[in-house]
Structures are given as structure tokens and as C-alpha cells.
């Protein structure tokens, strides 16, 4: 198990990168990009989450089975969000009040 432990320097670098991303996402929130603001904020959040999962949760350097399990979970989450978005996006198409 301890084979996936990285040198301490790596963890501090990841921490600094996360702090830089946080500063960037706060800065981006005060710039008016229209609807792209939400997309930019979530894209930075996904980048930060990837760093945390890969380094802090020791997925990088672990057995290949771990990423497979994580990706299948994320795929299922994607399906749930897709169904939610399909419902939200097509509300009012039928012209029935309240539907």
C-alpha cells in the first residue's frame, strides 16, 4: 500500500496549485462573461477536484481498478444530471400549465 505515497514536495505543490485556482475562480467571478461565468467556475472546480482525487486521495500510482470504479461512478452521476437537465430544458414544451 505505501507504494503510492509521493514526496512531501508534491503535496505542497498541489496545495499551492489549489490556492492559485481558488484565486483565479474568485477573480473570474467578478469579470462579466455572460452565461460563460457558470461554465468557467465549474471548469475550474473540476480541475481542482481532479487534483484532489489524483494526489490527495492517492488515486495516482494506485491499482488501475480504482480509477475504473471512480469513472463508472462519475458516469452514473452524469446520467442522473442528464435526466435532470432533459426535464429542466423541456419544461413548457407541451403547453400545459404547470407541466
Amino acid at each position: 500500500m505505501p507504494a503510492h505515497v509521493q514526496p512531501l514536495r508534491v503535496y505542497f505543490s498541489v496545495f499551492l496549485a489549489l490556492m492559485a485556482f481558488t484565486a483565479l475562480t474568485v477573480f473570474a467571478a467578478f469579470v462579466n462573461l455572460g452565461p460563460a461565468n457558470t461554465f468557467v467556475a465549474l471548469a475550474i472546480a473540476v480541475a481542482k477536484a481532479t487534483l484532489v482525487i489524483l494526489y490527495f486521495m492517492h488515486v495516482k500510482g494506485n491499482t488501475k481498478l480504482v480509477p475504473v470504479v471512480i469513472l463508472s461512478g462519475l458516469f452514473f452521476l452524469f446520467i442522473l444530471f442528464l435526466l435532470l437537465a432533459a426535464d429542466y430544458g423541456t419544461r413548457g414544451w407541451l403547453g400545459v400549465p404547470g407541466r
Binding site: 500500500m1 467571478a29 462579466n32 457558470t38 467556475a41 465549474l42 472546480a45 477536484a49 482525487i53 492517492h58
Partner: protein
Amino acid sequence: MTGLHALHMVIGIILVAYVARRAWSGAYTPENHNFLEGTGLYWHFVDLVWIFLFPLLYLIGRH
């Protein structure tokens, strides 16, 4: 959602404090540190939730 996250954080702080105390007294070895590993995973799960909650609650729709 902030309240539920705070509850997760309180649980996490208690767990990390307990693990730190046990680690100081030398309870974890290279052969046995499963509880430490699990606590770390839990703490970073709470971390991940905040990475998404922070922009959603405080940043989107700000400008």
C-alpha cells in the same frame, strides 16, 4: 447545504484529531494504517464537496 457540509466538517475534525493523537503515540505502522487512510479519504471527500459548493453558493451570479 452549508449546514450539512458543516456537520460533515465537525465529524471530520473529530476524526482527524483522534487519528493525530493516535499517530503521535505511534499507533500506525507501515503495515497497519487503514484507519488513517480511511480518515484521509473522508476528509478529502468533504474537501471535494466544498470545491463545488463554494463557486455554486458564493461566486455564480456575482458580477
